[in-house]
């Protein structure tokens, strides 16, 4: 059995092409893909940054052709985007086989292949892709094991490294800083000065924290009202700023203008009214919306866009520093999975060996009874005795075969077993195709053929 992965991502394909190849519901496509005789198992992962299909197959060449057809004709069908380039397999599509494919899946789930290193969403997206494949019966024992292993690896990477700990977007950095000033953001009031895109992004990041209340103040009250409506906030005119400032704990500013809107005198007055409770002011405006000397006030923490960007950059560097440790964990886990996957080679030989010896045992029992060496009433005892002998006889060689087959040189042991026990010589009692099959997918279970 082979594992094959084909995909496009943010490093190989432009956004127009990624958009065209993206899939909102993979289930119907997986059903189609699974009907191909060369595809045993399949999982389709599609996010804004990647579309990948990973399959387990007995025929690498056949599966490759099936996936290429699939990329050309099924993905993005019915979607026409003149700006999207034609899919060029040599340029846009990457292919990974077996170990490289395993490693890739583990890296993707662990967010080591993401555009934003360490971002947490990819793990959830990978879990969704796996769940969809399980739902339509496209995921069998190999890919199930691979994806479960990938989830465990991602968890290890997150627990044992600091790859996802420090925020790297300006909005998330703001939230993180706010948490260092305030104990519970849910009790805090936020004031947005301005109603542009920047404010919307910041508000989205803050919305997840369950704020105590949000006010939006803007020169154009209609824009403030629009933004306020979307986030359940109250809209205000800029003339209300002194009152709003006294009530707010966190102030975000991003509004046009040549001169700072929030002056030191205005903030001092607000502090007096709020009895010097801490005030966190984030100035995202360029030119700046807040007088810089506001930062000299002891109870005010003023961060402008450069301050936030510097923190975000530093955090990004720290995440990069964690990459080596994360890659080492992925390497370890890939080897572990590879051991299991390689050991699958032993399954047909072991099952064949068991079947062969079992057939011999049954034959000898029948012969002994037919010759009258034993009474029919002794059959059960005879069956138990011979079964115990067979189990004892096979235990050591089978254990050894299982263990050795996990290593690269394990093939020699399997070959030796086949020769020594004559497993390639078909006996009359053996049915063709009676050899091993992997459990897990009911009627679609097939024998792994390494």
């Amino acid at each position: 059995m082979k594992i094959l992965l084909l995909g496009v991502n943010h490093q190989t394909a432009p956004i127009e092409l990624r958009e065209r190849l993206s899939v909102s519901d993979p289930r119907p496509l997986l059903e189609k893909l699974e009907s191909d005789t060369d595809v045993e198992e399949a999982v389709l992962l599609s996010t804004c940054n990647r579309t990948e299909i990973v399959v387990a197959t007995r025929s690498l060449a056949g599966a490759r052709l099936a996936l290429q057809r699939f990329f050309r004709h099924e993905l993005g069908s019915g979607r026409s985007d003149a700006s999207a380039p034609e899919l060029d397999f040599a340029v846009h599509v990457y292919e990974h086989v077996d170990r490289a494919a395993m490693r890739h899946v583990l890296r993707v789930a662990s967010s080591l292949d993401s555009m934003v290193l360490g971002e947490p969403q990819i793990l959830g997206q990978t879990k969704d892709a796996y769940a969809a494949a399980v739902e339509v019966g496209a995921c069998g024992p190999i890919l199930s094991r691979l994806f479960q292993h990938a989830f465990a690896t991602a968890k290890r990477v997150r627990n044992e490294t600091a790859i996802g700990e420090r925020p790297i977007s300006v909005a998330r950095v703001s939230v993180d800083l706010a948490r260092q000033i305030f104990e519970r953001l849910a009790e805090k009031r936020v004031l947005l000065v301005g109603a542009g895109e920047m404010m919307e992004l910041a508000l989205q990041a803050l919305a997840g924290e369950g704020l105590g209340g949000v006010s939006v103040a803007n020169r154009t009250p209609e824009h403030a009202a629009q933004l306020a409506q979307r986030f359940g906030a109250s809209a205000h005119d800029l003339s209300e700023l002194p009152v709003l400032l006294a009530a707010a704990d966190l102030v975000l500013c991003s509004i046009g203008g040549d001169r700072p809107l929030l002056t030191r005198a205005m903030v001092e007055e607000a502090l007096r009214r709020r009895r010097d409770r801490p005030l966190f002011v984030i100035d995202l405006g360029v030119p700046r919306n807040v007088e810089p000397d506001v930062d000299e006030l002891a109870s005010v923490f003023l961060y402008d866009i450069d301050d936030l960007s510097a923190v975000a950059s530093e955090n990004a560097e720290r995440r990069q520093a964690e990459r080596t440790r994360a890659e080492a964990i992925v390497g370890e886990e890939q080897q572990r999975f590879d051991g299991w996957f390689t050991a699958l080679r032993a399954v047909p030989t072991i099952q064949h060996l068991r079947a062969r010896v079992e057939a011999m045992r049954e034959g000898e029992v029948e012969r002994a009874l037919a010759r009258g060496h034993f009474e029919e009433s002794q059959r059960e005892a005879l069956e138990q005795l011979t079964q115990a002998l067979v189990n004892k006889f096979l235990h050591a060689p089978i254990s050894r075969l299982r263990r050795e087959s996990e290593a690269e040189a394990g093939m020699a042991y399997l070959e030796a077993a086949r020769v020594l026990f004559g497993l390639d010589e078909r006996t009359e009692r053996e049915e063709p195709g009676s050899a091993a099959s992997l459990p897990g997918r009911g009627s679609r279970s097939r024998e792994p053929n390494p």
């Binding site: 700990e165 420090r166 260092q180 104990e183 010097d276 801490p278 002891a298 961060y303 923190v311």
Partner: protein
Amino acid sequence: MALALHQIASDLYLVAGLVAGLGLALPAPRLLRLGPALLLAGALAHGIAFATLHQLQPTPSLTDLPMALSFTAWIAVLFSLALQWRARMGALGALVGPIAFTAVFAATLSLSRARSEPLAGAAGGSWPHLHVLLASAGLALLGVAGLAGLVFLGEHRRLKLKRRMSGQLPSLEGLDRANRAALALGFPLLTLGVVSGMLWVHSSGGTLLTGAPHETWSLVAWGVYAVLVAARFGAHQGSRQAAASAVAGFAFLFFAVIGLELLS
């Protein structure tokens, strides 16, 4: 057994402090979670050690300075654990752990040698013990207030200078609340400690004050705290000023209550 438990408690406090400190420095959330658990284990061992003190011959008195310090450390650990349970105060654990270790280690040394001298004359019925228990508890809580203030000042400075951030550090608001709570509980206990001390002196000598330096300085320290409490709860002092006051106030109190005792 009491001696061994004291030793175990001091070791656990030290390890808890180191683990919490490492958790903050790396940062490693697992270590930060382990810190309070170790501190709690230390506090349990410490509590049992107090309960089994009577097994020692001769039985040490709580009025012995090392034992009083050990009791102060125990109360400080318990209070800091309560604070850590309510909010992310790993940094406080990182400071309380080593300080508690020092106090308990000193007490263990004292227990293993000859008994030290009591704080004052042994006469006075139950007043000496009441005085030491109340004053030690007050000292412990005001010590935690001072530590919270110290961490607040460091955090405030870091945020003002826009230095490297760590999500594991306590929030300024949380530290301010801890400071406020410790002061609100610690000052009444200190007051009761001072009053019981005066009643102790009165019961043994017929006068409320003897004019001893320990007495005078303790009263001055109490006065300083009375002003700090009035500023904090009456005049709505700013949180940074309150933090600085808590640090300075505790430094003075420590000198007045313990420092003079050690110097004499």
